[in-house]
């Protein structure tokens, strides 16, 4: 694909391009609102009675999720490449909103593809995208969710490749997307590492993030995966042996849906096998004939049959552990955080919180956990009300 080659060249050039980096940093600060806070969740910590819990507040980034970090980066690249139009897939609608926002910011035309199923449960975001001037196209084929929206966006891209850049929303797809999206998201971990050293004078013991395609997780983890970071406190008595990044435990939380045994889930590690899909070799929920299976999650952003290729690599290397939270666990965590902290999390992020609800009480009080609170839950309020049988 010549378009991928062109993109790869533009991306690697932009990394060294001082002007590009200056503009990106400027927009991160003045437009996205970075750095996002690292917040100590005192009441949640007390409630669970174990480890100290910090929230990396990506929900406070402009448009309400981490997706904007990547969207703004790629829209800047699209502009540099001379493209007049950007397109994107979206599940929860957050990436669609972020891309539409970036396009408005830079004066580009914008097309968003979204599965019928997701348009229903994220109706608010559909309206937001249209307000931002994007053309939202419904994808009524296949499972009518994120994977089908990606198919349709890829079809559009092959058709309009000369004028259009495809802003893929997660660390998936063909090279250079996984590397590039990770790079734009890695600002999360860079900030979090500095912030926790400021707040606690030491590194955390756990990093926890939900995993759809895997971009907010890679964004948080990446800075802590670098092996050449110097040791930090707490130092041992000799004063030399500090805590190393490699001692930090990292956990990715997939969507367990209605439970693995029901087959209605999006837990690729628990229920999938290696496959090749949408330009990428990774874990995949598929049948014996290699057809991709339908998935289920209460959260549209995690409702996806495959996972970014770096995650299987980190799993096999034993560096990151993967688990899942069910719909019910995520919904309980959604309400818990709302009531205890006054923060309504995105249903995606609620999966990460659900894992901490299980983990924190088992840990000593001097342990530290950072959760990536990848997005805010306004978009989910209607959907949750409906699940609870409440008419708004």
């Amino acid at each position: 694909m010549p378009a991928l080659k062109e993109l790869e060249e533009a991306f690697f050039y932009s990394k060294k391009d001082k002007e590009f980096q200056r503009e990106l940093r400027h927009l991160q600060k003045t437009y996205i609102g970075r750095p996002t806070p690292l917040y100590f969740a005192r009441r949640l910590t007390e409630h669970l009675g174990g480890a100290k819990i910090y929230l990396k507040r990506e929900d406070l980034a402009h448009t309400g999720a981490h997706k904007i970090n990547n969207a703004v980066g790629q829209v800047l690249l699209a502009k540099k490449m001379g493209k007049k139009r950007v397109i994107a897939e979206t599940g929860a609608g957050q990436h669609g909103v972020a891309t539409a926002t970036g396009a408005a910011l830079k004066g580009l035309e914008c097309g968003i593809y979204m599965g019928t199923e997701d348009m229903k449960r994220q109706a608010l975001n559909v309206f937001r995208m249209r307000l931002l001037g994007a053309k939202v196209t419904e994808v009524p084929t296949g499972s009518r969710t994120l994977k089908d929206a990606i198919n349709e966006a890829l079809r559009d891209w092959t058709t309009n490749v000369r004028t259009t850049h495809y802003v893929l929303g997660t660390v998936f797809g063909p090279h250079p997307f996984p590397v590039m999206v990770r790079d734009f998201q890695s600002v999360i971990g860079r900030e979090a590492r500095r912030q926790i050293l400021d707040a606690e004078g030491r590194l955390p013991d756990y990093l926890i993030a939900c995993v759809g395609g895997g971009s907010n997780a890679m964004g948080l983890f990446y800075e802590f995966l670098k092996e050449d970071n110097p040791p930090t406190p707490p130092f041992s008595k000799g004063g030399k042996e500090g805590l190393l990044d490699k001692d930090i435990k990292m956990i990715g939380v997939e969507a367990g849906g209605k439970g693995i045994e029901t087959g209605e889930h999006a837990a690729r590690f628990a229920g999938g096998s290696i496959g090749v899909f949408q330009g990428c070799k990774s874990y995949l929920l598929q049948d014996d004939d290699g057809n991709v299976l339908g998935t289920h999650s209460v959260s549209a952003g995690l409702d996806y049959a495959s996972i970014g290729p770096e995650h299987p690599f980190l799993k096999d290397a034993g560096r990151v552990q993967y688990t899942y939270a069910t719909d019910d666990e995520a919904l309980a965590a959604f309400e818990l955080l709302s009531r205890l902290e006054g923060i309504i999390p995105a249903l995606e992020s609620a999966h990460a919180i659900a894992e901490v609800v299980k983990l924190a009480p088992k840990l000593d009080q001097d342990k530290i956990i950072i959760i990536n609170l990848s997005g805010r839950g306004d978009k989910d309020v209607q959907h949750v009300a409906k699940i609870k049988g409440i008419e708004l």
Binding site: R155, G275, V276, G279, D289, N291
Partner: protein, 259 residues
């Protein structure tokens, strides 16, 4: 050993003719019906038949073939069943058959087993639109050994470097995708195809067949003038469902146009 597809193109060249390559999705609406269609293709003068394998996520296909794929999947048609269907077809026809399948079903099947079973069943060639030659070294090596043609795609946006790779990796013929886009889109005959096909011919004397977007006999005739063969897919699949009575007449008019 030379493949049946290569032989076909050689014969056509000697006769000063171009290949007519109609497409049908296996199992849409049933494998029984597919058998009838393949026989009809032969009767109407097809030189090679392209047989689609249904897949859950047919990325390179437009709405017509997407729906055909969905119908076939609903009927429980799988790659395995399509291969054994070819074995059945071989009882009644010797027309060269090319499978068009996406890569994941092949990956799941196992490349080696796929190549062996396809060859044993009487498949002549394979098109895998989401397998670029750079990722296909093993596949190419093994299919060459089995004399199963591996057919790769070139598009209007392909660079010289790409053209070099694809012409080298392909056997049987080279599939030139007439448009940037998906199957069933509108063909654009603006002279650029001429330029690109001439460019490809600088690198190879392997036959070049053109597909994606060819619909009317007039288009087929124009494309045949520039290439060695014409592939017609969506337009056939559409007629098969919307006006099956006209299918035979349509196929004959395509055959007559491809000279």
């Amino acid at each position: 050993m030379i493949s049946r597809i290569t032989k076909t193109f050689k014969r056509l060249k000697k006769e000063g003719k171009k290949a007519f390559i109609p497409y049908v999705m296996a199992g849409d609406p049933s494998l029984e019906r597919t058998k009838e269609i393949v026989i009809l293709f032969g009767e109407c003068g097809a030189d090679i038949v392209e047989l689609g394998v249904p897949f859950s996520d047919p990325l390179a296909d437009g709405p017509t073939i997407q729906r055909a794929s969905e119908r076939a999947l609903k009927n429980g048609v799988t790659l395995r069943k399509v291969i054994s269907h070819v074995k059945d077809l071989r009882q009644i026809t010797r027309i060269p058959i090319v499978l068009m399948t996406y890569y994941n079903p092949v990956f799941k099947y196992g490349e080696e087993n796929f190549i062996k079973d396809s060859k044993d069943a009487g498949v002549d060639g394979v098109i895998i639109p989401d397998l670029p030659p750079d990722e296909a070294e093993d596949f190419i090596k093994q299919s060459r050994k089995a004399v199963l043609d591996s057919i790769f795609l070139l598009a209007p946006t392909s660079t010289e470097d790409r053209i070099k790779k694809v012409t080298k990796a392909s056997s049987g013929f080279i599939y030139y995708v007439s448009i940037t886009g998906i199957t069933g889109a509108n063909l654009l005959l603006d002279g650029s195809m001429d330029v690109l096909i001439s460019k490809i011919k600088k690198y190879t004397d392997k036959p070049i067949a053109v597909g994606f977007g060819v619909s009317t006999p007039m288009e087929a005739s124009a494309v045949a003038g520039l290439s060695d063969g014409v592939i017609v897919g969506s337009a056939i699949v559409k007629r098969l469902h919307e006006s099956p009575d006209e299918l035979k007449h349509y196929l004959i008019s395509l055959r007559e146009a491809i000279k």
